[in-house]
Structure formats: C-alpha cells, structure tokens
Symmetry: C3
Amino acid sequence: MTKTNAGRFFEDYAVGDVISHAVPRTISGGERAMYHALYPARGALYSSDEFARASGLPASPVDDLITFHTVFGKTVPDVSLNAVANLGYADGRWVLPVYPGDTLTSESEVIGVKQNSNGKSGVVWVRTTGRNQHGAAVLRYVRWVMVRKRGEGGAPETVVPELAKTVAPSDLVVPTGLNFEAYNFNLAGEPHRLGDYQVGEIIDHVDGVTVEEAEHMLATRLWQNTAKVHFDATNRADGQRLIYGGHLISLARALSFNGLANAQMIVALNGGAHVNPCFAGNTVRAWSEVLDVAETDAPGVGAIRLRLVATKGACGELRGEDGKYLADVLLDLDYWALMPI
Amino acid sequence: MTKTNAGRFFEDYAVGDVISHAVPRTISGGERAMYHALYPARGALYSSDEFARASGLPASPVDDLITFHTVFGKTVPDVSLNAVANLGYADGRWVLPVYPGDTLTSESEVIGVKQNSNGKSGVVWVRTTGRNQHGAAVLRYVRWVMVRKRGEGGAPETVVPELAKTVAPSDLVVPTGLNFEAYNFNLAGEPHRLGDYQVGEIIDHVDGVTVEEAEHMLATRLWQNTAKVHFDATNRADGQRLIYGGHLISLARALSFNGLANAQMIVALNGGAHVNPCFAGNTVRAWSEVLDVAETDAPGVGAIRLRLVATKGACGELRGEDGKYLADVLLDLDYWALMPI
Amino acid sequence: MTKTNAGRFFEDYAVGDVISHAVPRTISGGERAMYHALYPARGALYSSDEFARASGLPASPVDDLITFHTVFGKTVPDVSLNAVANLGYADGRWVLPVYPGDTLTSESEVIGVKQNSNGKSGVVWVRTTGRNQHGAAVLRYVRWVMVRKRGEGGAPETVVPELAKTVAPSDLVVPTGLNFEAYNFNLAGEPHRLGDYQVGEIIDHVDGVTVEEAEHMLATRLWQNTAKVHFDATNRADGQRLIYGGHLISLARALSFNGLANAQMIVALNGGAHVNPCFAGNTVRAWSEVLDVAETDAPGVGAIRLRLVATKGACGELRGEDGKYLADVLLDLDYWALMPI
C-alpha cells in the first residue's frame, strides 16, 4: 500500500463533501519580502506600515495575492493533483486582511460535479474558504477543474452551481476602518483617482519581465503548491516546466502598478482564465481594461472593476476574429479593487 | 602578508583543539520563508505557530535543517576550505528547537586525526556544537573530512574516535513539552502514524525537482557557507558549480513529506554520505527506507529511523552488485525523526 | 492620455526642485534574509543581534546597502527612467542605522543641471535623502545622471554643484553608542584591526561568484527599482539584461568580507562609477585598496577609506596605459567604513 498521496479522481468528489486541507501556515515578514523580490509589487498599502496606518488599518497587510496563493496552494493536493485543466474562478471575495503573524488554513466544499461525455473525466466545482487562526474567513472563491476518472464507472448526477458573472458592488467587503480621505497620492506613486478612469479605458502597463525557472519555482514552493508540472523538467515530453498560473496573476498584477498604482486592495475575483501556458524565457507584459466603477460606504473609498491581461503580445489584443483567445495571451482576469475616489 | 583566510591544512589540527567559528547569526521569519521557497518543505509543525502550540511548543520552530545548515556553514572557513572530500557524519543530535529571534554560534573540537598513507592529506574528525544566545547547545554532530597537507612534514599520532553507528533511541532528546496526543493528522497532511510503518518498508516520494543554479547558490549563501566550488563557474575544468551537499539533504527531506508527512522533528543524524555530485539541471527524486522504530517518554511521541536517499534514478536502487553506490545516487542519509504513535 | 509614468526628461528638472519619491517601505527580517541569500554577506554586526548589542547598538541593523538600495530604488521612476547613464556618486553619508520595523521614504533635491553640447541630453545632479518613520534622515548622497531631452528647446542656466572629492573624516557620523572596545575579533571572523592596514595596501578578496539572471532580478525588484533594462530581455538588441549597478556594489562589498571582515559599518560613499556593464554568466571578483585611515570619537572605533573594485579580471588591475578603465573592471567605489582600532 502506497503512503504517498495519489490525489483524488473524479469519482472521489460528491456534492456537499467538505475537504479540510492540510498544512496550516503562519505568514511573516519573510513571505512579504520574498513576494516583493519575486514580483515588481509596489502598492504603498502593502509596502509601508505607516501608509497603511494613515489609511485606517493597524499595519500593512500582506499582498492580497499572498493570501490567495497560500489558500489556493493548500487545495492542490486535494483538488488539482489529477486535474487535466484549471477551468475557471468565480465569486472570489477577500473579506479580511491578513497580517504578518496570522496563520492560514484552507477548506473546500464540493458544490458541483459534471462528468464529461467521453466518460474519462469530469468537471468539479469547489468553494474554497481560507481562514485565519481565529477561525474567521479571510478569502472565499469558487474554482472548477477538469479531473481524470479513476475507472469506468457510471456518472454521478450532474450538479452545476449557479455562479454570478461578477461580484455585485454591494457585496464587496471593505476592511473595517479603511479610509482614503487623507490618501497621499504622491507617496502612492500616481495622481489618478477613481474619477480619472473611464469605463472602457485600456491601460498599457508598458513594462515587461522575462521569466526565469528559478523564480517561478521559488514562488510556487512558497505557497506549498506541489503540482509536479511546475518543478520536474522530465514531466513533459518537451522538457519544459509549466509555470504556475498564480505566478502569472501576481506578475501581471504587479506590472499593473504602472498606471493603476492606486488600485490598492483586491476585494473580489469575478472570474479568470489561464488562457495559454507560460514557460521560462517568455517575456510577460500586462494591460488592463476598466470594466466598471462603484461606490462603497467607506470614506474616500471607491471600487474599480478591471480586466487584467498577461500577454507575450501587444496591449489591447485579446481574441482573434474567431472569438478565441490569441496565442500570445496568457491570462484574462476580472477583479474588483479599492481605489481612492 | 595576505589578510584573506587561506583555510587550515591537515597540520593545523591537533586533537583537543577547540575552534570557535565566526559570524553569529540571528534567525528570523525571513530565513524560514526563504527555506520554504527553496525547498518543497511542508511539515505542519514548521509551518504553523498554531499547530506547534497544539503540539506543546511555544511557537513554530525553524526547520531543523535550518539549524543544521547555519551551524555547519560557520564551520566551513575553519574546517573544510581545503577539504578534498566531506567523508561522513555521525552522532548528530538536535537537542533544543530554534525559534525566530534566536542567535546561533558554532564551535568545533578536533577529536581525531589520521594522515593518509600518501603523505599529502589526512582525515580530520571534529565534533561541532551549535549554541543559542543563552549558551545552550541546540545541535551537536561529528563530521570528518579529508584535508590537504600544507607541507611534507611527518604525521601526527593517529587518533580515530569511536563513533556509534547510530544514536541509541534512549539518547534521543525530545523537546520539553512536546505532546502528540491531540495531533491533527488531517492538518498535518497524512493519516499514517508510527504503527503504520514497517521496518524494511520502502517509500517512494514520487515527486521530482529539477535544480537551478540560482536556487542552490541562494541556499548556500543563506547559510553563509563560503566554499568556492558552489559559486564560481571558473573553479572546475568543466565549468560546473558543485551543489552544496546540504542543499540535497534539504531537498530530499522536503520531498519526503509525500509519504512521511508525520516524521515531524529531526532529532538525530546517525550517518550520511554525499555519494555523487549534483549539478544544476539534474532532476532530483527521493525515497526512504524505514530502518527502525522506537518509543520515547513524551506523550504520543514515537521515533522513526529512516534512510533517506536522494537520487537521479529509480526508487529503491542504492548499490550495484559490486556493493558500490550507483552513479545516480546523490545522498544516503540515516536519521531519527519524531512521529505520532 | 496615458496613465503610466513616462519619466522625467532633462527639461523637467530645475535647480531647487524637491521631488518626494513614491512608495514608502517597511523593512523586516525578510529583507535581511533575502539580502544574505543574494550576497555572501557575513558582517557580524549585521548578522547577529547579540554581536550588535555587544557593540553598543540596540539590535542588529540591516546591512547599510539595504538602506542604500531601498532609498535609491525609490528615486528611479523620478530620476533615472530616461537616464542615458548613471554618471557618479558623491558625498554619501549614512547617518542613522536602520532596523527591522523601520519605514523608509526618499526625497531628492535637484542641485545642478548642465545641458550637453549636442542639445539632446543633459546632466542632472540630485541630493537624495532617505528618512525613517520619525522623519529622521538615515542616508544622504549626491548622484548625477545623464538624461535625455524631450524636445529641442534652449538650455537652462548651467549649475554645477561643488562636491568634495571625499567626505572628511570629521564629517563621518558614528552611530550613537557604538563601541568597539570589547570587539570580539574571533566572532567577527578575522584578527585584523585598523592598525594592521597600510595606506596603499591592496587586498585580493579571492572568491568569485558567477551571476545568474534570477538573482539580479530578485535583488533589483526587492528594492522596487523599476528600470526596464534589468528585467526585459527584449529591451536590448543583444537580448541581454543589464544588471543593476547596485547588485554589483553589494556583491563586491560582500566578497570583501574575506580580508575586510572588520570593516563593519559603511558610513560614507565618497564616489563611485559603474565602469562597464555586467551580465548574467559573468564571474565577479573583488579587490580593495586602502586609501586612508582616520580616528573617530567613539570608543575603539576607527575609520578606513577603501577603494572597492568589482572585476571580471585580475586583482589590482584598474586602468590601462591610456588611463582608461580596463574592459574587465565593473565597479570602482570609494567609501569609508568603521573598523575597530
């Protein structure tokens, strides 16, 4: 009998199952420093205790994507070890900031299953919740993956969850105390406030980063993500290591500082797709499209809904005439961030 | 007169000499984050303050191999700068956990010397002790190296220390307060307790990691290990940088989580050999063999003795018909770890 | 209208302008761990809280070059995004140590402008000040860069600041409380005190490091330095990424431990030039020349003025017969450090 984790197959998921994921993790200033070395992240709220205090928070939280990757990484051994594809995200909500010293755990509920017509795989939907050491939720999101079947058995009853296309502005959770009335645009790096952005506006983030093997592996391990394809060059016929999709999310988000320096806190993930694989040696650029703007109840705080695209190609190019994503596009993400009004 | 450290030669060691090594080092959460980025380390006790507290410790200690590498690194300028080979380890004992904020120093006593018959080199045995800021020992181990002679002088009297082949179970030091009675196997990542392992059992840890130059250099510098061969591509005729053996120890140990997630604390190093060199581009895998099991006095805590092998080859293959290590084998380590019973 | 930072051009600088740079940054033990992984830094005062306390400081400060890079990095978007060349440094003074938990900001005053005779670019001098969360200056230095002109307009009145060739010993600021009377040379790593160094002495630091792309990019991002040339392999015709000059400064300084272990605190930067570009794959070595020695008022504390050279070539070789720097030389730095007398 093997003692190693073979991962779950499609048959191992039933709607209503709750999976408590392994390896709780205490975050320190070390994770933040690594994050800032791995990505060109420059958000003032996430760089400076003083700036965070001036914004009504007790200290600088860790970057929201540290929370996402940490919570997500724990789900990999239980959810995506035998995944054929990571199909999508929906209804992601950051509901409590995470600070150095906090310990995160992760739990997923199976909310949908649908066997594919080929009978060899199926789609599984899970709603994952990350919690801190007090048991308080810090992040919730839905993800669905295509998973191999173990055998030839029959199909379970299909359950496809209804998922809102976007998180409604009224459902955005603004951290208690957050206040951008005395926001220092100069220290934050750019003068643009929410009113300066137009729905439909495209922002070219200009900078590019050529990705190295050591970098994406350092990142992926930091989140205790164990998927073999990211680390083992013998795993694919072409000898390439597939870069963890979350590495692209963080890279693109960090690049978007240049033009969106004031899109400070990520509060919702409306959807997202890892469109094409990324490999070491690729030079990654990013552009954003303003999809919506909204008010919040917090003083001086508005919300901006953004499409964030990571690409090896040109700004603004997303799909071909056939409606399919272009080959250069790596990531298409839809999120809400908080911005001073 | 040169001011740089030329290192010691065989003639510079006399049995009874005590060498106090340079550069005390304060460990922080930063070292832990780097460690978790460098290796796929996932031990719950070393990831979460909450899990550690539930196990009777005041907080999450740093990974035991951080202690080992830090203490070892300090000995390099005094012990192995002119080493021809790192021959072995024995009688290693972790006697006190190390926490962020602790400051480590390192000291070695020469306990054996034996000139080689060629008259050009000799073997030196040292017992190294790592201590924290209170002067309390945290780690002790014996290591022996082959060192070049400076000149043609006569041989010193041969002293070969008697070293036990393994640390006896009764000599294992369990950290004060450690208690695995309420151990959460689900959070730890695997259900297997000590009773589930059979002596002789082989565990294939399945995953592989293809090693990069930047990674092993980051690691080796982090431990302030200064040996030239790890950093300088002009140092060998083939232009390759030799990977620090300790990098392999940590990599293999981290890979062994998959099948040995509950082998939490390393408490003894019985022996070990760096069998073949490892270079960037190699894909490293690991397997373990259960060598022994034992009881301890701590509640719920048992001990498991493991052979840990790092290899470029197949699980379970160690030596050829001639009794020699196979060319693919990189590391053969023998250690005791604490595991819930 | 673009929202991304196009950087300033020569016309955008007027003598007397004060630029408050963006993104304040809180430093933690994470930044120190990353620094010690990136460079072979081993200064005892910067590694150990205990050693620092024995020297009269409250704890171990972060390496002085962490302060430098952090303060410098913030100036890049405002000062050197359109720079053609980084021409020099002068009058650099570290005036207060930085500890984990401190938050740094950066401000520059334009103190000189001089249009080039070609009318297409000009030289700008700025005096940059880094401050902590209490508003106290921690570092001041002058840097001058050649910046492109936006247009064809006329030249501003030339102002060339008078800059001392070196910081006078009487202007060196020794941290309050620093005391080397009980300095432990053994723990520091070398026996040489100030009196052991002769003006004119050349020290070969012996060790070499072959630089990797991932390393210099991790470092450069850690300081939130955004210059495109360091990250984007498509930016130059030859596909190479230019290594941030500060990476060389830190690498050479760390290598200089071997022979200058007791040159503990950098207190002044007299001047410096990035002589030739460095690329991944280069093997970097370092040598130092003792330029001067001086007393200070602090007990047991002297000052040593050093030329620090990073090179791909041989120790002691700096300029050719034509007086120009040799092609192998990468960095020529002139600084003051504090050393036990």
